[in-house]
């Protein structure tokens, strides 16, 4: 082989290697000042349109800036954003659900402190106080409350209740009597898809909160109490009792909420009740208008032996808080972009889609939403979803153990112990 040929091949190799590194290098940057990347998870119903129009309004005001909207399905988003944060390739604006993960982002300096933007022109007064409170961590505002007020409640099939002469239950005992009547007539009382885990957690939260109020959870989280509190043990025991009585559909632990496997049972009239967040209203309207016409809601009943206030609501006042990434090259414009999501047009769009935007003075024409908003306004306090208030590590333990309570593979006490151990380990680490 001639020297010339060797040199040629050598050069080729260097060029090839250079290409590889160049490709790696250009991807790692967080976009330029003239383009903004925003991630959203509103992939269903009218969601995508609402976002596209908001982005178009922003582009009309800022013709020189290219705004890129990426829509990602809920559970996939959680994975994608975690990977993006870990590798430092974060979009300019993205969402979280407040609570644990948002605190992690804030602690790490992954997101920008928005307090000064929110205080400018009293912009923050536009939002519900509780929503701002939820976006606040260590005295600073980290997110813009964007999406709906979302709380969970009991959705039910009014037609089935009427057919079997069941009145809306106001106590747990009445609820159980209703379940027994439904069961006797071959109707599954509750439809549940618990592969997703946070779905079953809603039942657990309601039972625990009606039994002991919000205080046991607050105490367990800050370490002054524990997850072995009777309220949590009771919730677990009640759930296992309900599972044994057949109050849930077959195979709930293997069904997937995101694929609609629980909603299907409800739409077909084979199950009568569904405990779910208020977003279910909009799903029902688009997926099964026939069912939506028979749909009603009621407050999760009072616990006769419990000390919890029956008006306490579980959920978030504004879920989907939009953050500006600290890696963004144009943070002011990124904030402007997210504020376009909740301008007057955005609010009108949200109402049209059957959602409750977290702003003051909205008028709701949808009867179910009006009723839900009434529940929220009557609530003395709001219990944020457990899996969002807890640190991600402990939240996962809560979700897995509550799934095991449902599956009967873990006793309520053993589950409580595991959760307590995880929380204690977390507090020690902090």
């Amino acid at each position: 082989m001639s020297l010339k040929r060797i040199l040629f091949l050598g050069l080729l190799t260097v060029m090839a290697a250079g290409l590889v590194f160049a490709a790696g290098g250009s991807q790692a940057s967080g976009g330029s000042a003239n383009s903004l990347e925003i991630w959203s998870i509103q992939t269903t119903g009218k969601g995508p349109g609402i976002f596209e129009r908001a982005v178009a309004r922003f582009t009309a005001d800022n013709p020189t800036i290219k705004a890129n909207l990426t829509m990602i399905v809920n559970d996939a988003y959680k994975q994608k954003i975690a990977v993006a944060l870990a590798s430092g390739q974060t979009p300019d604006a993205f969402l979280s659900w407040s609570g644990g993960p948002m605190y992690e982002y804030a602690k790490n300096g992954s997101i920008v402190d928005l307090t000064s933007y929110m205080n400018a022109n009293n912009y923050k007064d536009k939002f519900l106080d509780a929503a701002i409170a939820q976006a606040t961590y260590q005295g600073k505002i980290w997110g813009l409350p964007m999406q709906n007020v979302s709380v969970c409640t009991v959705f039910y099939n009014k037609e089935l209740f009427a057919k079997y002469n069941i009145a809306v239950p106001t106590t747990i005992r009445e609820l159980e009597a209703a379940c027994d009547t439904l069961k006797k007539n071959g109707i599954t009382p509750f439809s549940l898809a618990n592969k997703t885990q946070w779905t079953g957690s809603m039942y657990f939260m309601f039972l625990a909160t009606r039994r002991g109020g919000t205080q046991p959870f607050i105490n367990a989280v800050d370490g002054s109490g524990t997850f072995l509190d009777p309220a949590f043990i009771y919730a677990g025991e009640k759930l296992q009792e309900w599972v044994n009585k057949g109050y849930f559909n077959t195979g709930f632990n293997g069904l997937d909420e995101d694929s609609g496997q629980a909603r299907q049972i409800l739409y077909r009239g084979e199950a009568a009740m569904h405990i779910m967040g208020s977003w279910f209203n909009s799903s029902a309207l688009t997926e099964s208008p026939e069912f939506a016409a028979k749909m009603g809601i009621f407050k999760f009943p009072r616990d006769e032996q419990g000390s919890g206030n029956p008006n306490t609501v579980i959920g978030t006042v504004g879920d989907n808080f939009y953050h500006v990434a600290s890696s963004s090259k144009n943070q002011a414009k990124a904030f402007e972009l997210i504020s376009h999501l909740i301008d007057d047009n955005g609010i009108a769009d949200a109402l049209d889609d059957g959602r409750i935007p977290p702003v003051k003075g909205v008028k709701l024409s949808d009867p179910i939403l009006a009723e839900l908003f009434g529940q929220v306004q009557a609530a003395p306090d709001i219990q944020l979803w457990y899996d969002q208030s807890l640190s991600p590590e402990v939240a996962d333990v809560h979700k897995v153990t509550s799934q095991e309570i449902f599956g009967g593979t873990l006793s309520p006490r053993a589950a409580a112990q595991q959760l307590q151990d995880a929380q204690a380990a977390y507090l020690k680490k902090k």
Partner: protein, 301 residues
């Protein structure tokens, strides 16, 4: 004189061949270092840190993660699930794939349509199979539940029952991978010379003797490599199971890889996640070494 000149010519030639070989290998070597060696080293480094996976704050904690790993019941339970999958995959996949390949070899062209049909599962991506089976096995409206209801039974819960879920998942894994081994064995059948069968038939061999005395011994090296692939594959399994059950209900279908994923990206505990990944690396390497050395020894006998 002429001889010594020849030698120096040959050595000069060998020298230039070596340089050329090095030049050709360099790109591959670079890729290996960047995409294989470096990540492995990096996860071992991360495994000695407390790191949440975000930002630059990494704290060196020495062997703490490794001590936790050794005591972690969930990790060993996940390893146990991997071993179950490994064992049952071997038990079902090898004979099944062998039977299908034998059928195709015997029927030759007449069986060509089956060759395509049976290979289809392997062509579908794991994630698509996971989604497909999530609906197929739906406890209320899936295929099996519907058949059961047709005969007056109730729903059939295959993915949500913690005692059954792992076996259901293994069944789907087998469904997906049997075609791969089938093709492997079929290819090996193609290498068996026809003369051997002719000789056997002259010796008066029966049909079953064809298989046991001629085909099987000659297929042995292929069976060994198929088993090795299956064992290593079972230990690092992830995608299909993650989609179908997410490791649940509870921890009943949790595998080492799904556990690692959850630690790193759901619980934001990247340091410990890296420890699990490194632990997996060590375990899989050990198992692979043992399997390869013992199986190879057997074939030599």
């Amino acid at each position: 004189m002429a001889g010594s000149k020849m030698v120096s010519l040959r050595s000069a030639r060998q020298h230039s061949i070596r340089i050329a070989a090095a030049v050709f290998l360099l790109p591959a070597l670079l890729f290996l270092i960047v995409y294989v060696a470096y990540p492995i080293v990096e996860s071992f480094i991360t495994s000695t840190m407390a790191w949440n996976g975000m930002g630059r704050k990494r704290v060196f904690t020495g062997a703490e993660n490794w001590i936790n790993l050794a005591k972690d019941i969930n990790f060993w339970r996940a390893f146990g699930n991997n071993v179950k999958i490994m064992f049952l995959s071997l038990v079902f996949q090898v004979p099944f794939a062998m039977a299908l390949a034998t059928f195709l070899d015997v029927t030759e062209r007449r069986g060509a349509v089956f060759k395509v049909v049976w290979f289809i599962p392997y062509l579908i991506s794991s994630v698509a199979i996971g989604v497909l089976f999530k609906y197929t096995l739906d406890a209320n409206y899936g295929v099996i539940a519907s058949i059961s209801k047709l005969f007056g039974g109730g729903g059939v819960d295959l993915l949500g029952n913690p005692r059954i879920a792992l076996y259901t998942v293994i069944g789907v894994v087998c469904w997906q991978y049997i075609p791969f081994y089938m093709v492997l064995y079929l290819a090996a059948y193609g290498t068996i010379p026809v003369e051997l069968y002719e000789a056997a038939s002259i010796d008066g061999a029966t049909r079953s003797q064809y298989f046991w005395r001629v085909s099987l011994p000659l297929l042995r090296p292929t069976i060994v490599s198929g088993m090795t692939l299956s064992i290593i594959g079972s230990l690092k399994y992830f995608d299909l199971i993650f989609v179908m059950t997410g490791g649940g209900p509870g921890v009943s279908t949790e595998l080492m890889a799904t556990y690692m994923y959850k630690l790193s990206f759901v619980r934001y505990n990247m340091g410990y996640g890296a420890t699990v990944a490194s632990g997996m690396f060590i375990l899989i390497t050990l198992v692979a070494l043992i399997v390869i050395s013992t199986l190879n020894r057997k074939t030599e006998l």
